[in-house]
């Protein structure tokens, strides 16, 4: 996100807030525009990726919807119309050869003109009452989204797909802005649908949930029921007099400071493959690791602050994603406060079901082993969400084993709780020591995250212990 992009989003949110009657419609249109505007790819992919995202969102909604209303049909037509127009605009602005654009224009024009009428067709769309059929569709959707994520994260797969479209495609990686977050929102909906927990919402609200513009680039991964409640919330009649807009602006200011001042400055001394390869001083390596840890936090939480701030201006409260993660006493608490919406997602949809599955196997007698396997598998998946590479697997394993070890140690030390609670000074000392130890465990873990190959990781870890 650039400063200009952020300014546009703030402006969009303010305009929507100033026109209460059309607020949600304006936010919805703004989200459609942002979906296309935020894509960094040029050419065919720049137009195709957001168009495909829209189709995916509509597809998921079709699976979970009960019975479309006339309003849904109108919005479907509008999505097709606006989406078609934005696709054509993306092609033109990205400098596609005029001949190709001209070929696309008549077809897209027909889509735009016909878009409003297409909504009528939804009456004939199948919406089987039989849950089993829908659940099969939902499963298919989940598998499809995981497949797309695999293509997005695996350079080899991505190159293969890209080479089908572009001559030099095999060597280029596609940047599908925001898809990691959109995919997890959609999967949450499909998974909840399969267990009968999903809230039925209108197409407009569902599209807005999936593609709410401040949350496209860096989350958070909201839950449908929470977001839907926000959409239905009564707002003060005088938006500019409300604290919410002011709080939003302050939050954006904090986010800008974190992202563009602190994170970007720390990036100059943060651990990178280049700095790691050329540094051997233990003190400097530690400094780089600390800088990387803080840079990552300020960068990511800064983005989320901006998203939350814009959401506040728009009258939608997005969930917190970071709550002082580096001041936590242990790794479990760290993961409760770092990228909260992602770790909650994995806890709900992978860790718990996977643990239940393991507990139904002969392994159930070895509870510690079940926890270890579930923790490591969950953390490896979180690692792979960041990128399909060995270093992310190692990072996930580091944290998985760390979480397991913390559980084992805290279980064994529980008997000491009373002893410590009677000695406040000792308790404070242990708290400070625990916070420092937890931070350093996480910071060393970032070495795996930041460096792409084993040699560099080994060189850096050895350097950190002065070897």
């Amino acid at each position: 996100m650039t400063l200009a992009g952020i300014a546009l989003m703030i402006g969009g949110a303010l305009i929507a807030r100033l026109i209460p009657r059309w607020r949600l419609e304006l936010l919805w249109v703004g989200s459609l525009i942002a979906l296309f505007g935020l894509q960094q790819e040029n050419g065919l992919w720049g137009a195709a990726l957001p168009a495909f995202t829209l189709l995916l969102v509509i597809g998921v909604w079709v699976i979970i919807q009960k019975r479309p209303t006339p309003e849904d049909r109108l919005h479907l037509g509008l999505i097709i119309g606006i989406g078609g127009a934005l696709t054509v605009l993306s092609l033109i602005l990205s400098g596609q050869p005029p001949a190709e654009t001209l070929m696309v224009l008549p077809a897209a024009g027909l889509v735009v003109l016909g878009g409003l009428n297409v909504g009528a067709l939804i009456r004939d769309l199948p919406h089987p009452e039989a849950d089993s059929a829908r659940k099969r569709f939902a499963l298919l959707g989940i598998v499809g989204i995981i497949g797309l994520l695999a293509i997005l994260k695996l350079p080899t797969l991505q190159g293969a797909v890209n080479s089908l479209v572009q001559a030099d495609g095999a060597d280029r990686l596609i940047g599908w802005v925001g898809f990691s977050y959109i995919a997890f929102r959609l999967m949450h909906v499909l998974l909840d649908y399969r267990i009968g927990r999903v809230t039925a919402v209108s197409l407009r609200d569902f599209t807005l949930y999936s593609l709410f513009f401040p949350a496209i680039p860096a989350g958070p991964i909201t839950r449908l029921e929470q977001f839907h409640k926000e959409l239905q919330r009564e707002l003060p009649t005088k938006p500019l007099a409300s604290d919410e807009v002011l709080q939003g602006l302050v939050r954006i200011g904090i986010g800008l400071l974190k992202k563009f001042v602190l994170a970007d400055t720390l990036a100059l001394i943060a651990l990178t493959p280049n700095t790691a390869a050329h540094s051997s001083s233990t003190a400097i390596l530690w400094l780089m690791v600390y800088a990387y840890a803080l840079q990552l936090f300020f960068d990511f939480s800064g983005y989320v602050d901006i998203a939350i701030g814009i959401g506040r201006i728009a009258g939608i409260t997005l969930p917190e994603n970071f709550k002082a993660p580096y001041f936590q006493r242990n790794l479990t608490q760290f993961w409760n406060q770092w990228h909260i919406t992602l770790s909650t997602w994995f806890r709900l949809y992978f860790f718990m079901p996977f643990s239940r599955v393991l507990m139904s196997t002969p392994l159930k007698s070895q509870r510690a082993l079940v926890i270890l396997l579930a923790q490591v598998a969950t953390m490896i998946l979180i690692g792979l969400w960041h990128g399909a590479a060995l270093n992310f697997v190692l990072w996930g394993t580091w944290h998985g084993v760390g979480l397991w070890a913390h559980k084992q140690i805290s279980d064994r030390l529980r008997g000491w709780d009373g002893f410590v609670s009677n000695r406040p000074r000792l308790g404070q000392l242990i708290t400070v020591g625990s916070v420092i130890a937890t931070f350093h465990f996480v910071a060393v873990g970032w070495v795996f995250f930041a460096l792409p190959n084993l040699d560099l990781i080994g060189h850096t870890l050895a350097g950190l212990i002065g070897r």
Partner: protein
Amino acid sequence: MKNLSPLARIGIKAALLFALFNFLYVLIQPLDLLNQISIYNWLVPGRARLPFADYPESSFNLTLNSLDQMIVSHQIARPKAPDEYRVAHLGDSGVWGYLLKPDQTQAACLSDLKVHTPDGRVVRAYNLGYPKLTVVKDLLILRRALRYQPDLIIWSVSLASLYPGDQLDFTVIRAHYDEVKALIDQYGFNFPEWVQISPPTLWDRSFLGQRRAAADWLRHQMVGITWAATGIDHVMPVFVPPHPTNLLPDDNVLSVNPIQLRETRRFTPDDLALGVIAAGVAEAKALNVPIVIINEPIYRSPNHDLRYNTYYPKWAFDTYREAMVEAARVEGWFYRDLWDAVGSDQFTDTDFHLRAEANCAFAQQLRTALQEFWVSP
């Protein structure tokens, strides 16, 4: 004010405070003070050459506009050793060491020779070259180098660094408008470009106008840490394009008054910005610091009748050399013409950039020039 919404009240107060801050900023100009402060030579070692970067992220370096900040982050700003004979080496990218490591530059090679002065001190040369062909830039650097007790200055020049019409079109020089104006007023330089250069506006002096310079100051301190850790200040390309050999079949020279030169086909001292060198010599002389002026080596095409290289037709460079000799004689400068001191197979990508080995071989010629100067200044 009471009828306004909280948001409007806060907005107005913030705008007023920001305007006041900018007003005070314009008056105080805190960046001038900040640019005298650096973590270099304090928390991290001083840099071996002035900050300059084509690729800031990978070279742990960046291009600054403040010469004060450049010089305080340089090794020359550290205390002088008792037995040190401090030599500041001014010049262009050839002196800076483009495509070379910091320990392969002419200054580094000269220091490595461990030359002893007649009074037993050891020559320690400091690379104050900067990749731009203009002697005004050298004069500005020289004025700052004089703050750090140099015993002698080597000033490498070439014809292209002396074109009066090409002295000022350079961000670093424009960033020092007031100082350049004072020098022009004091020494009467005649630069055709000067009339086109606008003085800094109120906006340029405000915090908003100087936000980039302020951010650069901070970034420069931060990259000092990674630079100190890695020792890298310049990215070496994997592939260096070979020196151009297909010279144009003409004898034109760019950037100088072409009509007059086409008629006379001769450079005279008046066609060159020699007044800048004279000003540098005068400023150094006021502090008893002598200057050795060097006509730096250039690539010479072995098979072209009209040109030596892409920059210079033969008639232009030959008459320039004559003009330099004449000016040195009249002004009493210690001048050495080393234009052909390096073989043509020892150049890298341009007509001025030498290979590492050639740089060190050339440093021996600089040593000879110094020894000659000590015998007969």
